[in-house]
């Protein structure tokens, strides 16, 4: 392929300095992800998985190295440009859902569209569609606290997808769920993958990584294995 891949991390380093000490959270990470791939990321705790996801999600910038997302050089982007990228191109799913407790499920899903300046009617329609896609139309007026963990995660998947991002990032999306709801969530991921969505997912469990077609293994801030099935 002559074209750049959808995601291209080019010798990325992330160094945290706490006082005298320097922590190398990521060392010389190079990853390419093509459109439509479903990538699982594994590795022991503290190996740098979340750090990479945060970089991929444009929540943070690399200390050294380049990051191209959808042909755009992220490392050079300003804060406002990063916010725009997060809004338009990235869908993020967190382990602890990160829904706003005072808003209803529907309002939570509407939020990204609110920040992209979409008109009220269109916004509502899109959010309802996204909720329907994860099978939660009947709970749209409920607050997150009135929903089960699995339902909350489905709301947050709907929120991540509502702006039709180029990539879905999930950092241990089933980490807080029981095995039955885990399966439900993974089925949604699989459907999304089959529909052509690019997905990168951190997980602790080998069974869950099974759903993906590619596995990246982290150790001490480095990629030690990268296998396509």
């Amino acid at each position: 392929m002559t074209e750049k891949p959808l995601i291209f991390l080019d010798r990325v380093n992330k160094v945290y300095s706490s006082g005298e000490e320097e922590i190398f959270a990521l060392r010389e990470i190079t990853v390419e992800v093509e459109e439509g791939e479903f990538v699982a990321i594994m590795g022991s705790s503290g190996s740098g998985k979340s750090t990479m996801m945060n970089l991929l999600g444009c929540l943070d910038k690399p200390t050294k190295g380049d990051y191209y997302l959808d042909k755009q050089a992220v490392a050079e982007a300003t804060e406002d440009e990063l916010a725009l990228i997060r809004n338009k191109k990235i869908g993020f799913v967190f382990q602890n859902f990160n829904l706003l407790p005072k808003l209803s499920a529907l309002e939570n899903v509407e939020l990204p569209l609110l920040y992209s300046g979409m008109a009220t009617e269109e916004r509502r329609q899109k959010a309802e569609n996204a909720l329907e896609a994860v099978g939660l139309s009947h709970r749209k007026q409920n607050k997150p606290t009135e929903l089960s963990g699995g339902q909350q995660q489905r709301v947050s998947i709907a929120r991540a997808l509502v702006n039709e991002p180029v990539i879905l990032l999930a950092d241990e999306p089933t980490g807080a769920l029981d095995s039955r709801t885990t399966t439900e969530i993974m089925e949604i991921f699989q459907e999304l993958h089959q529909a052509g969505k690019t997905i990168m997912m951190v997980t602790h469990e080998a069974e869950i990584a099974e759903y993906a077609e590619r596995l990246i293994l982290f150790r001490d801030g480095m990629i030690v294995d990268d296998n396509k099935r």
Binding site: A83, L84, R86, F92, L100, Y115, S116
Partner: protein, 403 residues
């Protein structure tokens, strides 16, 4: 996110903390109410004083003893003491129409078993003319009664009300002033409450009676003069000054120490003092508005800390710095504007209450209301900026990690 949405959003988060929001707006409310009520009080008082000075009439000149410098103290007696001879001399002036010398003392008035402490004023028969007063019942004492030092008295409306069922019943009654019997021959029309003193709470007797019989005094407090016309005021002023020197055998280059004030002078001084007083009251009130602003800043800072995670989530899904900034500033401004509106309502109510239930008077005008509202907006804006910029500068990852 458009403005209406931001506004709805901020109303929502304010509603989520009703009591706290209310207590915060209370600070602004009290500030705004204080500005409005105190300015209304200042303007009310000064307009009352102005009205009472205006009621003196535009031809009025008032001569009072002035301050004598320390090196002239031994001559003070002749340099600034007013006497009846002065009054008589002034009355002969071409430019002067009428003269009312005045002595004032506190006195005890008794009728039957009733007892009233009031101001006893001694003056001439020309008082009515000079002071723009109107007799409601009976008559004022005449020149002859004054010269004969008769014990006749004209009552102010308040004193008459105190003793008699109606004004007509008072005429001909004998009252005692400091144990001396006086016959009531007239009652003055009500002049109304005029700011600093109740003009109706006094009794008026011939000045000679007051000086020789009642109080045994030689010196008089003031001489009220009315010029023949408003155009003659300057001339009258000069002539009065000259005569007072002639009376004392003082050369025209030497100083006497009298104050000769005209109504317009007193008026402008009073207006200046009124403005100063209003300004001072507004200043005091503005301080409480400022304190209210600090309250808003305090609560907004707490709110930013509490909502760190919310801010992190909003940023993670694409909120820009300015979107977060806008959200918190609108919240602060909404708080202070709600406080401002309540303050206007409360301030107006307070002004009405003061006007109605106390002897003070208030004057409500639109300017302080607009100012107070504008300043409450400004206070919200200024004190909201710092918390809002703090919120907008949060790092999304750290904010998300916040519990």
């Amino acid at each position: 996110m458009n403005f209406t949405e931001s506004l709805l959003l901020s109303l929502r988060s304010l509603k989520a903390n009703k009591l706290r929001s209310f207590l915060t707006t209370l600070g602004i409310m009290i500030g705004v109410a204080a500005v409005i009520a105190l300015v209304a009080l200042g303007q009310g008082t000064s307009s009352r004083i102005t009205a009472s000075i205006e009621s003196l009439g535009s031809n009025l000149l008032i001569v009072t003893p002035g301050a004598v410098p320390p090196d002239q103290r031994e001559r003070a007696e002749e340099l600034n003491r007013l006497t009846l001879e002065d009054s008589a001399a002034l009355s002969r002036l071409e430019s002067i129409d009428a003269v009312a010398p005045q002595v004032r003392r506190q006195g005890q008035v008794v009728w039957h078993n009733e007892n009233w402490t009031t101001v006893v004023e001694g003056t001439s028969s020309e008082y009515i003319e000079v002071r723009n007063s109107v007799v409601d019942e009976g008559r004022f004492f005449n020149r002859l009664e004054a010269r004969r030092q008769q014990n006749v008295v004209v009552l102010g409306a308040t004193v008459a009300e105190k003793f008699f069922e109606s004004n007509s019943k008072g005429i001909g009654q004998v009252i005692e002033i400091n144990q001396t019997p006086f016959t009531v021959i007239g009652i003055l029309e009500k002049q109304g409450n005029q700011g600093y003193a109740n003009q109706d709470d006094r009794v008026i007797i011939p000045i000679t009676t007051a000086m020789d019989r009642l109080f045994q005094i030689q010196e008089i407090n003031a001489i009220y003069l009315s010029a023949r016309s408003a155009d003659l005021m300057d001339q009258a002023h000069e002539e009065v000054e000259k005569i007072l020197k002639v009376q004392r055998n003082v050369s025209s280059t030497e100083n006497t120490y009298f104050q000769i004030s005209s109504q317009s002078q007193i008026l402008s001084t009073a207006e200046e003092i009124g403005k100063l007083m209003t300004g001072l009251l507004a200043g005091i009130a503005a301080i409480s508005l400022f304190v209210g602003g600090i309250g808003i800043m305090n609560i907004m800072l707490v709110s930013v800390t509490e909502r760190t995670r919310e801010i992190g989530i909003r940023k993670a899904i694409g909120a820009t710095r300015s979107a977060i900034m806008q959200q918190f500033i609108i919240e602060a401004v909404t708080l202070s504007l709600i406080g401002g509106l309540m303050g206007i309502f409360f301030g107006l109510t307070l002004s009405k209450i003061i006007d109605y239930f106390t002897p003070l008077s208030t004057l409500i005008s639109i300017t302080p209301i607009l100012y107070a509202f504008f300043f409450s907006f400004l206070v919200g804006l200024i004190f909201g900026v710092y918390p809002a910029s703090k919120a907008s500068a949060l790092d999304p990852i750290e904010a998300l990690r916040h519990q």
